[in-house]
């Protein structure tokens, strides 16, 4: 990036906080592994958002203190969690009925790539990877009412992740409606990526230089 104006990309927690700011009270939300999991830490308890996990847990609360871990209560990332008052347990088939039946208001996922048509790739890094782990990614991507992706804007080597067409194996087609990166917030629209917000000091030109897909500003 041309450093005419110094810009400071958001860190993982700041990205998670930015996503959290857009989640209203009353939504049922599933959070993927990685940065998405951090989103819950930035939703205040008094804003009642009900977090779901694939292994049948509804109403996940704040992470337990080390000496208060319940060994029988984990999330899909195999981390120990707590249940809020009002929480519920269902079995796996019902948990995925929640996911696949369109009952979740939102799923926040990480990704390797998102394309301008809303395709996403987040489960395998190459066609040659014959035994990647898919878990619930494909179910969540097609089943939730909204899919938001939170990820770094580029790879560590500076390769764009917001692309015209995904090069990694697809998770789902045309499902992503919004992307939060360390540089910007973008909506996926029929006209491609629309930039809603950029970090202070960043220009559209500088953002475009780090993005393969064509960017535009709201009409």
């Amino acid at each position: 990036m041309d450093q005419a104006t110094p810009v400071r990309p958001l860190g993982r927690n700041e990205m998670a906080a930015r996503v959290a700011a857009d989640i209203p009270e009353g939504w049922y939300v599933n959070l993927g592994i990685g940065i998405p999991t951090l989103v819950a830490d930035h939703v205040p308890l008094e804003r009642e958002v009900i977090f779901h996990s694939e292994n049948g847990v509804l109403g996940i609360g704040p992470a337990p203190a080390r000496d208060a871990i319940n060994p029988w209560l984990i999330n899909a990332g195999k981390q120990h969690v707590t249940l809020r008052k009002g929480g519920a347990i269902v079995h796996h088939a019902d948990s995925f009925a929640i996911i696949r039946g369109g009952h979740l208001d939102l799923c926040v996922l990480g990704a390797f790539e998102v394309a301008e048509n809303g395709d996403m790739a987040n489960w395998a890094t190459s066609e040659n990877d014959t035994a990647p782990a898919v878990g619930g990614a494909m179910d969540l991507a097609v089943g939730a009412r909204r899919v938001w992706v939170v990820m770094e804007h580029t790879t560590k080597d500076g390769k764009p992740r917001l692309v015209r067409r995904c090069s990694y194996p697809l998770t789902a087609l045309g499902v992503v409606s919004r992307v939060y990166t360390n540089l910007a917030v973008l909506d996926v629209t029929p006209a491609g990526f629309v930039v809603r917000e950029m970090i202070p000091g960043l220009t559209l030109e500088a953002l475009q230089a780090r993005t393969e897909a064509k960017l535009s500003l709201p009409a």
């Binding site: 847990v57 195999k78 088939a93 898919v134 089943g143």
Partner: protein, 226 residues
């Protein structure tokens, strides 16, 4: 008098044949029927197809069963996880077949089998390599993939409470795949932390009714490791 409670592991494992499809409950270390897996290792059935969310970790339990060359094929959603060393070795050496299934499709294929449904269409996986070669159809404006029911010969289940009719409860996220697997297998074998008197479990609280359960063995093994 109906009594599904068996006194020995040999009795619990009796009759499991070579070539069986075996469901193994559990998600992570929680709700995993470890004693029954060890029982199956001891029992000796081979050429098995194992259906489980993960492909085992470390060198014990499911990983041990695979290392002994007893598993021909594994059907799971998340074969690669921390410590899935045995699976990695066998898979690289071409000694085990893998059918990778999205987690929800895996659960639903078992529920379909339990409910007598032969197959169903789902949008999950459409347009991805996991749907390659599968029949697709547009239904209600959305492209969907045909997935077949998945029936088990045997299900190995971990429960919290069981009575002599085989009514079961589970403990928190120990529930996971256990109830749907119990419903979808021909022979459902349960290890239960607690055996309770008939009538002690409130009918409103029974999660798996005994109609889906064939054998119960009391294994008070305590909490999963933290």
């Amino acid at each position: 008098m109906i009594n599904k409670i068996v006194r020995s592991m040999a009795e619990a494992m009796a009759g499991i044949k070579d070539g069986s499809t075996v469901f193994i409950g559990g998600f992570g270390a929680v709700g995993q029927p470890n004693a029954l897996i060890d029982g199956l290792i001891e029992q000796g059935a081979k050429d098995l197809t194992v259906v489980a969310n993960n492909a085992g970790t470390g060198r014990v339990g499911l990983a041990r069963l695979m290392e002994l060359g007893r598993v021909r094929r594994i059907v799971c959603s998340y074969p690669r996880s921390t410590g899935s060393v045995v699976f990695e070795e066998l898979f690289r050496a071409g000694k085990i077949e893998l059918e990778l299934v999205p987690q929800g499709t895996l659960a639903e294929r078992m529920r379909a089998a339990a409910a007598g449904i032969g197959a169903f269409f789902t949008p999950t996986g459409f347009g991805t390599k996991l749907a390659a070669g599968k029949e697709t159809r547009e239904i209600q404006g959305r492209m969907q993939v045909l997935e077949y029911a998945l029936k088990g010969d045997v299900a190995l289940i971990e429960a919290w409470q069981a009575d002599r009719w085989g009514n079961l409860t589970y403990r928190l996220s120990g529930r996971n795949f256990n109830p749907v697997m119990a419903m979808a297998a021909e022979l459902t074998i349960v290890q239960a932390q607690h055996i309770v008197e008939l009538g002690e479990i409130d009918p409103e609280v029974v999660v798996t009714p005994g109609i889906f359960v064939n054998r119960v063995i009391h294994v008070p093994y305590g909490d999963p490791p933290i």
